[in-house]
């Protein structure tokens, strides 16, 4: 077996978590006060963890790169959060949520972790309501639910189209309460640039004060990384501009393995790219597919006229419209899972039926729903999304169909963690989108928020005790220790190296170039030849970057270009690892589609014989090929089947 011990407890699935909780160690209140924990990131994962750990009595230091913890990328989540409450009496259960998540992830996640996630999900909703999250309610005063893609029950709780915002504000308020009590020291506008290990254990971080430019040392007994996903490796994505993979990458270089990096989610309903001045992509919530019908013209010549702007969508007669999702997947229709919907849109556009000037857009049409339900109903359901769409595109979606196209949205892959959420470095934890643990090869809608809060409120506060109980005699980390000094020196050295290149091209130039390679060869559809090519191309971009990037401004001042440069340097490395991972996994599963592995009718084909494992990549030194380890996935409670949405 491999060097990886996932620490999955023995016993029946439904009893694992309870049994584990009663077996792990607990730290006494007096000792908690002596133990320090660093939490990097204040999204749903980080804010909930920092607040909960502080409530328990640990001394917490929290970090975020924005000017306030409230601005973490989680704030942008729209649609909702899942929980197995069964309030609708539609036969939902912990097991059903577990099963849907495992199946939706195309059988590439750990059973035990996913079951625990489903098990704690109801507590999340209770907690959020107690904090003052104003979830949508029915007229009788009880909580309302929505349905999301890929499932048959109604278990999604929501706060209009701003669920992430409201959940994050709840966690942020809990965090503020602990800050005011002096239990959390909050460091906003601070970016973690390295993790520091002493005697093999994580004992602190090096961070840059983004306002003064000062490089600072912070010590602790454990470090929790909750820094979100790496989707911005593609340059254009729905992630916030500052979202990055750097903290996770620093952990990787210090010995924390990276798992399934090629598993990224492409969301089918985003506003398409326009021209070449665009900086980021905007998501239109999945909930729109409940009432919108997706189509392109049947005739090539119509598509051509649309692209030239000679006709509009409303000029195309009913019979000449190809509702390709309804055609190909009659039972799920417009509500097929995200990966399936995305590939189908690409297939039509590649075949020449795209409808915008770039040929990379399909229609999402509300005409039929408006005819059926009336404009008022549609407005009540999606008013804020329609307003957002109109502000961006200047098109009124009540009158003309929306144009949409797939875009990078979420990273299922991430830092490898065991059942306790600890990485392969003792004392270093990873939670939220930053870890790999719960979504396999494809995440279901409304499950990321659930996972972030499950990790932060209900899992980590228990499991971290098991490690910290053995650290009560360990003195406070000495930030004057040699290990801190060396880490700081390395960080400063890298910043100065970047700054002194003084080349000719801005950071964005390289980021865009990387993004094109990633999208073309490591994007929605991948093959061995393309992936090998991508690896070579990324190497070339990296070489050019380290020779020719130009960073203006000063080192000891606010310098957004310097921040970007560090992140893009890491994206170049992450992108290459993603290509390696995608090359290794010669099967199609979830968001990962290998052209070599398809069924006769062109659908994704999984290969359980060979690939029922989590890939775990180990850093092997700068410029060297990474080493692949495998954690075999064992399914004792579900039967592996090919997903079918026909």
């Amino acid at each position: 077996m491999s060097i990886l011990d996932s620490k999955i407890p023995e016993g029946p699935l439904a009893e694992k978590w309870n049994k584990h909780k009663s077996n792990i160690k607990v730290v006494s209140p007096a000792n908690k006060r002596k133990l320090e924990v660093i939490v990097v990131g204040t999204g749903l994962g980080g804010a909930s963890a920092a607040a909960s750990l502080a409530e328990l009595g640990y001394k917490v230091k929290a970090f975020c790169y924005q000017d306030s913890p409230r601005r973490a990328h989680s704030i942008a989540a729209q649609g909702g959060i899942n929980a197995a409450k069964n309030y609708q009496n539609d036969n939902d259960s912990v097991f059903r949520l577990f099963y849907d998540t495992i199946k939706g992830g195309d059988y590439r996640a750990r059973e035990a972790n996913v079951y625990r996630l489903a098990e704690v999900s109801p507590n999340i909703i209770d907690q959020c309501v107690a904090q003052g999250v104003p979830f949508g309610r029915e007229y009788g005063g009880l909580l309302d639910n929505r349905s999301f893609g890929g499932v048959l029950v109604s278990r999604t709780f929501y706060a209009r189209g701003q669920t992430g915002q409201q959940l994050l504000l709840g966690a942020y308020q809990a965090l503020n309460r602990q800050i005011s009590k002096g239990n959390v020291e909050m460091y906003s506008r601070h970016e973690m640039l390295d993790v520091v290990k002493i005697d093999g254990k994580a004992r602190g971080i090096i961070a840059r004060d983004l306002v003064s430019g000062e490089i600072k040392r912070f010590g602790a007994h454990a470090v929790v990384v909750a820094t979100g996903g790496y989707g911005n490796v593609f340059f254009l994505s729905t992630n916030a501009m500052g979202s990055n993979g750097s903290a996770a990458w620093q952990c990787y270089k210090k010995g924390a393995m990276m798992s399934n990096p090629c598993f990224v989610q492409i969301h089918p309903t985003c506003i398409p790219v326009h021209g070449d001045q665009q900086s980021k992509l905007t998501l239109m919530s999945e909930s729109l597919r409940n009432d919108g019908r997706v189509w392109v013209p049947k005739k090539n010549e119509d598509a051509e006229k649309l692209r030239k702007g000679e006709i509009g969508p409303n000029d195309i007669p009913e019979d000449d419209r190809d509702f390709y999702l309804e055609r190909r997947y009659p039972s799920y229709g417009n509500l097929v899972p995200r990966d399936v919907a995305s590939r189908a849109a690409k297939e039509r556009c590649d075949a020449g039926f795209g409808v915008n000037a770039e040929g990379k857009a399909v229609y999402l049409d509300f005409k039929y729903a408006i005819e059926r339900l009336g404009k008022d109903v549609i407005k009540a359901r999606y008013g804020n999304l329609f307003q957002m769409y109109e502000k961006i595109t200047d098109v009124d979606p009540y009158k003309e169909p929306m144009m949409i196209y797939p875009a990078i949205h979420y990273s299922m892959g991430g830092t490898w963690v065991d059942y306790n959420l600890m990485t392969t470095v003792p004392g270093l934890y990873s939670i939220g989108e930053a870890n790999f643990s719960d979504h396999g090869a494809n995440r279901l809608g409304a499950s990321a928020l659930m996972q972030g809060l499950a990790d932060g409120y209900f899992v980590l506060p228990y499991t971290i005790g098991d490690y910290l109980a053995d650290e009560i005699l360990t003195p406070k980390a000495d930030t004057n220790a040699l290990e801190f000094e060396e880490a700081e020196k390395a960080v400063t050295g890298r910043i100065e190296k970047l700054f002194n290149i003084k080349g000719s091209k801005p950071v964005d130039y390289f980021h865009k170039k990387l993004g094109h390679v990633m999208w073309d060869y490591v994007g929605m559809s991948r093959n061995a030849e393309g992936l090998k090519k991508a690896i070579e191309m990324i190497k070339e971009i990296r070489e050019e970057f380290w020779k020719d990037v130009k960073i203006p401004g000063e080192l000891n001042n606010l310098n957004p270009e310097l921040e970007k440069a560090g992140r893009v340097a890491d994206f170049l490395d992450i992108g290459e690892l993603m290509a390696h991972d995608a090359l290794d996994r010669n099967e199609s599963c979830g968001g990962h589609f290998r052209e070599e592995s398809v069924t006769e009718d062109g659908e994704a084909k999984r290969d359980d014989e060979q690939f029922t494992y989590v890939s775990c990549w180990e850093f092997n030194g700068e410029g060297k090929e990474p080493v692949l380890h495998k954690e075999d996935l064992v399914f004792e409670n579900v039967k592996l089947t090919q997903r079918s949405y026909k």
């Binding site: 990328h73 308020q173 998501l283 409120y457």
Partner: protein, 253 residues
């Protein structure tokens, strides 16, 4: 729809190297901007031009670029978040501007929001107000079932209206007194509308207002400028509600 090209724009922008620097306006020209581009994309392009010319790019705050994180904060042509309604700076598009126009960009100006660099200001004062009491005092775990206390649809919706505040600070920037009343009232109303938050409503209002006063925000004289510029349409009726909570809190002491 059909995007046009703005051939030339003059960008008159506030430059200030750090908190100590006095600061001044500088004007740059920029060419060939698509009307379909966002305002911040225009600034990205300008910045990349400046970098290539060997100049220091303009620092401005932004992150989500979809109107929800509250980071972006530009005062454009005399208006917080610029010449469009119900949008943040990042949602503003270039189709709102004319070819050849001079666009003036300033940071939020308020004593409580000192400039860090160029257009970036320090909004820590907002954090401190919320830390003073903008929460419900519950710990993780041990809470009742989410459906234990029914909340009327109307109360939940009104609470949600107030909870939509993104903490951007446009209300302070738009107010001639630099008052933070709209921001404070939004948090007070969000929590006071819910049974869970009612318990501490009075002490919360008192503590937050006291902190706001202490941090150098001005008083509210009901000019209503905040409501006009608020990208999330937070209503000034929340201020009236806050005044009521606050006054009864004072009397009951």
């Amino acid at each position: 729809m059909a995007d046009k090209i703005l051939k030339k724009l003059n960008i008159k922008v506030w430059r200030q190297n750090n908190a100590q620097d006095k600061g001044r306006f500088e004007t740059y020209t920029i060419e060939n901007i698509s009307t379909g581009s966002s305002f911040l994309e225009m600034l990205d392009i300008l910045n990349n031009n400046l970098i290539e010319e060997g100049k220091d790019p303009i620092a401005f705050d932004h992150d989500c670029r979809e109107g929800i994180c509250g980071t972006c904060s530009l005062f454009i042509n005399g208006r917080a978040h610029g010449p469009d309604t119900e949008v943040t700076t990042c949602q503003l598009h270039m189709r709102k501007f004319k070819d050849g126009e001079t666009i003036t960009i300033e940071p939020w100006r308020a004593a409580a929001f000192p400039v860090i660099k160029d257009l970036v200001v320090d909004r820590t004062a907002f954090e401190k107000i919320l830390q003073a009491g903008g929460y419900i005092s519950v710990n993780t775990g041990g809470v009742p079932d989410a459906n234990a206390i029914p909340i009327s649809h109307e109360d939940a919706e009104e609470s949600m209206d107030a909870a939509s505040c993104i903490g951007c600070g446009a209300c302070v920037a738009a107010c001639k007194n630099s008052s933070a009343m709209l921001f404070v009232s939004a948090k007070v109303a969000h929590l006071a509308k819910l049974p869970q938050g009612k318990v501490e409503a009075k002490s919360r209002a008192r503590k937050m207002v006291a902190k706001m006063d202490e941090l150098g925000f001005g008083g509210c004289t009901n000019t209503g400028a905040c409501e006009v510029e608020c990208p999330k349409s937070i209503s000034i009726t929340n201020i009236a509600r806050l005044n009521r909570e606050y006054l009864t809190a004072r009397f009951s002491e």
